[in-house]
């Protein structure tokens, strides 16, 4: 189920050194829980994003393990400290082995 997976990330364009910023992320994904059944009563196999990692210049910000109880189109909001100008990298790991990445740079004035 790796079609139409589109990550969206909101990061401020600039910040002052050491400032705490709020990041919001959303990725379109069905997050099929493995509990639902189709019309014939067969179990629809589980297909979810199982891990989400955010780094800034190689240093970890947050590392989330996702279970089937996370809603469709997983949304996360969290805070990060920005010590210097750099780039946030966002990585989502799918059950099917796909990896989706997104990156956003931020300027420290």
């Amino acid at each position: 189920m790796a079609d139409n997976v589109k990550p969206r990330v909101r990061v401020p364009k600039s910040a002052s050194a050491g400032e705490t910023i709020t990041i919001k992320t959303l990725i379109s994904h069905t997050m099929e829980s493995g509990q639902r059944k189709d019309k014939e009563g067969n179990l629809i196999p589980r297909s979810i994003i199982n891990r989400f990692v955010v780094d800034f210049n190689g240093e970890n910000v947050i590392d989330v393990t996702l279970e089937p109880a996370i809603s469709t189109n997983p949304y996360f909001q969290f805070d990060a400290t920005v010590p210097e100008t750099g780039e946030f990298t966002f990585t989502w790991y799918d059950d099917d082995g796909s990896v989706y990445t997104e990156s956003k740079s931020i300027d420290v004035a």
């Binding site: 509990q35 590392d63 089937p68 109880a69 809603s71």
Partner: protein, 140 residues
């Protein structure tokens, strides 16, 4: 015994009550088992950890929750009435100052959302919030 409509209804509600009483401890212990796996059986006390969730969620498919755990390195979320109680595990890195996170989760029915936080000194904290769910979020 002749099964009339009235009797059937009475039986049904009786069964439902028995279900509610009988099944709840079993489900709760399922979540407790998962929590014990995280804590290793250590005592989890109340602390600065908080879980924010709506009191009533109309749609169990997407329930917004927020955790705030100052000084925590890891927070695990459980839903004690879901078929699998594990919801998510957040590990906070050095660049995360507030140790808070918000996401949206699925809840099968009215139940408790439980957060277990592992603090920097290795101790555990626990917080929970009850959410009343109108429409469950696990499909048929």
């Amino acid at each position: 015994m002749e099964l009339t409509r009235r009797k059937a209804l009475a039986l049904g509600s009786g069964a439902l009550a028995a279900y509610g009483v009988g099944i709840l401890p079993a489900v709760a212990s399922l979540a407790d088992d998962e929590i014990a796996k995280v804590t290793g059986g250590a005592e989890a006390a109340a602390g600065e950890l908080t879980v924010t969730a709506p009191e009533i969620a109309e749609n169990g498919n997407t329930v917004p929750i927020e955790i705030s755990a100052p000084g925590a390195v890891m927070v695990a979320i459980f839903a004690d009435g879901n078929p699998t109680p594990n919801v998510a595990t957040f590990k906070f890195g050095p660049l995360n100052p507030t140790r808070m996170a918000a996401t949206r989760i699925r809840l099968a029915s009215t139940q408790n959302v439980i957060a277990i936080a592992q603090m920097e000194d290795g101790s555990f904290q626990r917080a929970q919030a009850e959410v009343k769910v109108t429409i469950g979020g696990c499909g048929g």
